[in-house]
Amino acid sequence: MVETLRPRKLDEALTWLSERKALPLAGGTDLMVHFRNYTGTDSLIVRPVLFTDAIDELHSVEDLGDSLKIGAACLLSELENNELVPSLLRQAISQIAAPALRNRATLAGNVCNASPAGDSLPPLYLYDSHVVLASSSGTRTIPLVDFITGPGKTIRTDDELLTHILVSKSQNEKIYYRKVGTRAANALSKLTVAAFAELENNIIMDLRMAFGAVAPVVVRERAVEIIFIGKSIDQVDLDEFRQAYAPHIRPIDDQRSTALYRKEVALNLAGDFIRKIQENL
């Protein structure tokens, strides 16, 4: 039987983590599937397990003024209903899996799982989110874009725990989120597109767009965004906009979809975002 610990205190968790190099388990909605065992058989998890769900300090959403500090034990269903959380992120969360999953799954888990199809990631990339990693020797705050390095890969070391996610409190008026999957609930995404724009007298003051499941990590290109910032929204050519993103959308064929479909739909949705704003001017 493997060793497990379910502490209330973060200090205790970090000390044990550094001693045992344990597997952190929050909601378990990915890990329990990954290590699935059948009834009457022992768990397939062979490493010590640190349960993080009972750590008091990780349950709060702290308002820092411009940003939110979201504890790693906060449930998706709590964040979905928290009005401080940017509505674009809430919209993405509300389409993850189904109610019972969102009652266990955490935002931190979705980040650490680092799946290219992690649906909370495109909105988190848009808001330049950061993660806080803690170990018994200190903490470090890292941009999310540097934290995730590939499918399932992060720079978290064995003695570190992701304790908080820092997200902007921006509430943008022109937001866009599309998840493309085989059915409304419980489907892993074929692709996702998240975007927002800020306009003043039809001039694009800010524009951000991120794509999920079309490359090894979330695609967000500030260089492309900058091309269009400062222009008048009604003068953005849809084809030019699509073409600007085309070289960055590099999907693969897998069991859920094909590279061709993903690329075509991603670019269509990119254009759809601009067209919808133009139609509603």
């Binding site: 379910r6 019972a100 009652n103």
Partner: protein, 156 residues
């Protein structure tokens, strides 16, 4: 490890493998076989129960995380007034065919009605989004939940 949890209002003290699934403990150790195993991956909702008032998939919960928690299974719900109303409404609306998904559906309905006592069809569909039924085509389950909401007006 030793854990304590309240199951259907009764305090249970158990000596368990911390990584055993709540589903297996309910079915094999506590003989509460109303909770079903369908997919074992959190996709089908047959193993639904309420944990501290929240709808969960018991196939994905290591039992160590249940220490100090309150669990409500279909057996506990069925013996309550709300459970009786749901049972009658499901029978009357023909919401049950093979019956395998039914305990999970009833718990998802209970969870929905606690938050939304008078749900419209869209809210019911969203509330049942994680529960799969291969017989009914869902329409009769939705009818059953609407009927329960009417018959049990004031209970939720």
């Amino acid at each position: 490890m030793k854990i304590e949890m309240t199951v259907n209002g009764e305090l249970r003290k158990l000596d368990v493998n911390p990584l055993s699934r709540l589903l297996d403990i309910l079915r094999n150790d506590l003989s509460l076989t109303g909770t079903k195993e369908g997919c074992g991956e959190g996709e089908c909702g047959a193993c639904s129960a309420l944990m501290n008032g929240l709808l969960v998939n018991t196939c994905l919960i290591p039992i160590a995380q249940c220490d100090g928690s309150e669990i409500l299974t279909i057996e506990g719900l069925a013996s309550s007034k709300r459970g009786e109303v749901l049972t009658e409404a499901f029978a009357e609306a023909h919401s049950v065919q093979c019956g395998f998904c039914t305990p999970g559906m009833v718990l998802a309905a209970e969870s929905l009605l606690r938050k939304t006592p008078k749900p419209d069809e869209q809210q019911i569909r969203e509330g049942l989004a994680g529960n799969i039924c291969r017989c009914t085509g869902y329409d009769m389950i939705i009818d059953g939940i609407q009927l329960a909401a009417e018959k049990g007006d004031g209970l939720w």
